[in-house]
Amino acid sequence: MKRILVVLLLVCVSCKDTSGSKNTEAQEMQVPELHLQELQVVDYDGLEPYLNQDDNTLHVVNFWATWCAPCVKELPYFEALASSYDNIEVLLVSLDFPNKYETKLIPFIEKYELKSKVIALDDTDQNRWIPAINESWSGAIPATLIYKGQKRKFYERSFTQNELKTEIEQFLN
């Protein structure tokens, strides 16, 4: 498993400078809390276990990217699932380009305060893993895999909130 830890250290700006010359730039800056963001990056072999968990949980795996407008649009619907249903686990698999993890993906996760687990999939051998995830998938995103035990369904499409709800409830009944 390829695992990169992307560490974002936001250093607090010290404001002890009490001298007359005021640094306006430092004053305007929002002082962030010191925090550490960990992004899990996997290849397909690293992702595969997440697609086949045989437990009593409903798994919703959404393939997305920050550059994919229809993906970003439906993201809140996926985010809302955890608070609407019990026994549901949402995994957001980002297909952002690795050179955008720091500049696009991590800032996005922070800005929208994503609560679901986010994993970045970095595996160029798409011709192997796309059909492995689902034989019918042409490779367009957004795409979503919903499964519980042996029952699984794959969607190469985007959802409205109601459409997603309908699909989820099919699995719950």
């Binding site: 994919c68 160029t124 011709n127 490779g139 367009a140 190469e156 985007s158």
Partner: protein, 205 residues
């Protein structure tokens, strides 16, 4: 009254089928005959496959300005045309997105992009979005390699350009080049279909 009920039920079923069908299952398979088209190029002229009397076939690529995957492949698309146009397989790039949904793909923007990147091939717009569904393209970039036959333009390969979107230098399988080379050498194409991630073709919702 019964007929109306039946008809509306049928209608509903059709609507349901239209929305629930998998895009991947529609469109062309390898061996099918691809439709010709008349689509507006960035220079304002209409382009059809039948205009190319001397071509042996076509590298039809559904692509656009705004998809990072398509952008990552721009230089490689130019290379494909440079290498194969003179051998009888020119690139025809078709922009399939709805430009109201994706203004960055307007004809104006396409023109600017083609100029900036030095496109040597037609970059036409699927205005009205009638052509890409017939091919079964679902995303950009999406390649259909066609060979001119007595029956028409036969689909010989569908899928990705190569196996590394990130880095042209790290490519180990040049799917499109291998397929065109095989056609040029009268050999059978080893890999006729591949998958790759791409951006959904944008339509009005």
């Amino acid at each position: 009254m019964k007929t109306i009920k039946l008809l509306s039920a049928l209608g509903l079923m059709l609507i349901f089928m239209a929305f629930s069908s998998q895009p991947a299952n529609n469109g062309y398979k390898v061996g099918d005959i691809a439709t010709d088209f008349s689509l507006e190029n960035i220079d304002g002229k209409m382009v059809s496959l039948s205009d190319y009397k001397d071509a042996k076939g076509f590298i039809v690529i559904f692509t656009c300005n705004t998809c990072p995957y398509a952008v990552a492949y721009e230089d490689r698309i130019v290379e494909l045309d440079k290498k194969y146009a003179e051998k009888g397989y020119p690139v025809i790039a078709i922009m399939p997105n709805d430009t109201d949904v994706q203004p960055g793909d307007s004809l104006e923007a396409m023109r600017a992009r083609a100029k900036a990147k030095g496109f040597t091939f037609p970059y036409v717009i699927d205005k009205g979005q009638k052509i890409y569904p017939q091919y079964g393209a679902t995303k950009t970039p999406h390649v259909y390699l066609l060979q001119k036959t007595t029956k028409g333009n036969e689909v010989k390969y569908i899928g990705a350009i190569d196996n590394n979107y990130k880095d042209a230098k790290a490519v180990t399988e040049r799917y499109v080049e291998n397929a065109v080379d095989a056609l040029l050498n009268n050999e059978s194409i080893k890999v006729t279909e591949t998958r790759a991630i791409g951006c959904t073709i944008k339509v009005k919702s």
